[in-house]
Amino acid sequence: MPQPKIYRVAEITRLIKTVLEDEVGEIWIEGELSNFRKPSSGHCYFTLKDAAAQIAAVMFRGNQRNLQFQPADGMMVRVFGQVSVYEKSGQYQVIVRQIILSGQGALQAAFEALKKKLADEGLFDPSRKKPLPLLPRHIGIVTSPTGAAIRDILNILTRRFPNLHIVLAPVRVQGAGAGADIAAAIDALNAWGGLEVLIVGRGGGSLEDLWCFNEEIVARAIARSALPIISAVGHEIDFTISDFVADLRAPTPSAAAELVVREKAEFEAQLRESARRLARSLQQQFLGLQHRLLAVSRSHVFREPAYVAQRYRDRIDRLGLQMRHGLENIFRERQQITDDLSLRLVRQMREWQRLRAMDIKRLALLLNGINPLAVLDRGYSITCRQDGGILKDAGQVTPGAKVVTRLSKGTFESEVV
């Protein structure tokens, strides 16, 4: 019979420790807090118990910064940590990394307390809300790099706006330390520079899963962010503290992606529509002028020199055609609505206007020719009898008669000799 293996105390203790740590690993335990104490070392020691059993627990100082509440005996809590062995005393205990109040009632109480505290500080004031940019093209996202949330957000953003610059700050979104991760990521994206808006969130989960978005550290990071933040915690009904502090709340990560930027196609349609309305207004104005000009050119004075009117008609027809072509081109080139066609159209219009001004000058000259007084400008004069009759024949006056001569400027009297 072989000799049974004989362990030394340290040896078996280490073995037990290894088995416990490997087999049990990191777990959540729910129970009632008792014998809570915090000596000067800063570490917290307590016992978790229920009606049938109890287990020792320690929370080291370094893990306490995420603590949402002041633990006290009698509280129902859930702790997250690793079961391990304290070799010196041979006792097993839970090394606690996170404690949350358990039960909806208790969680709700902690939630309401923090909500009231932050509301009193004015962190939820509408006046604090930063406006979201209409066209953010550099977007920061704080979420898990492996979750459904990032996949949904990227799918939707890429579909709505194919050319965006997106920067993901990867974080844990549940469990111990998630809140600190999220807060640090918000700060990091603000420091990164060049971003215009942030989406902070995760997919749906239980109240406990989402709890990090109810942590004060996250609320404070959102409040101090210079960039506007959309909170996107995937729990459509309940609000988190993050939702209240954020500049905009989206019910899910997908919804956040839809809220953050309008569809590119929508912007393009708006621009196309504006261009169309601009051109239509100009065209209407043009048609109005065309109509008036035609009316003028058909009027009595201009009918005589028919070629002038005809030239107008020709030019108007030609310009009208060019303009229609220009407009048609503008709308045909969907992607190039803004190319030089519009400027060419303006040049055409300006040219038309210039020619029209020249023609009007010419018409005015023409009119001047018709005006009988215009010849006076060229040095001619008109002489009348005192009764006003125009002298066309020297026989109409006798010596000694007074006549009035009209010049281009002014009149004078003279006596016939």
Partner: protein, 90 residues
């Protein structure tokens, strides 16, 4: 660190464009003023369209390397490898 992209006035340009369109449609303008407005409006359309296309598509992930934040290309997780619920120990 990148310099912030101020995107000079996409929003303002769009507002101005809207105002110009409305003013032109009120139809009480001289032809000259109208053409000036048309020209400005078309310029704004062009400017805004350029803004829409200015930025290159890029998805990055922040990574801490030797205490320094750097950005690396990021590919979205495939649907079958990413469970709907977030996983622990990410």
């Amino acid at each position: 660190m990148k310099t912030p992209d101020k995107q000079p006035g996409f929003e303002k340009s769009l507002e101005r464009l809207e105002a110009i369109v409305q003013e032109m449609e009120s139809g009480t303008m001289s032809l000259d003023k109208m053409m000036k407005h048309f020209e400005e409006g078309m310029g704004l359309v062009k400017f805004c369209s350029e803004k829409l296309n200015e930025v290159e598509h890029k998805i990055e992930i922040l990574v801490k390397k030797n205490g320094q934040m750097t950005a690396e290309p990021f590919a979205a997780p495939e649907a079958d490898t990413a469970p709907d619920k977030e996983t622990e120990n990410i």
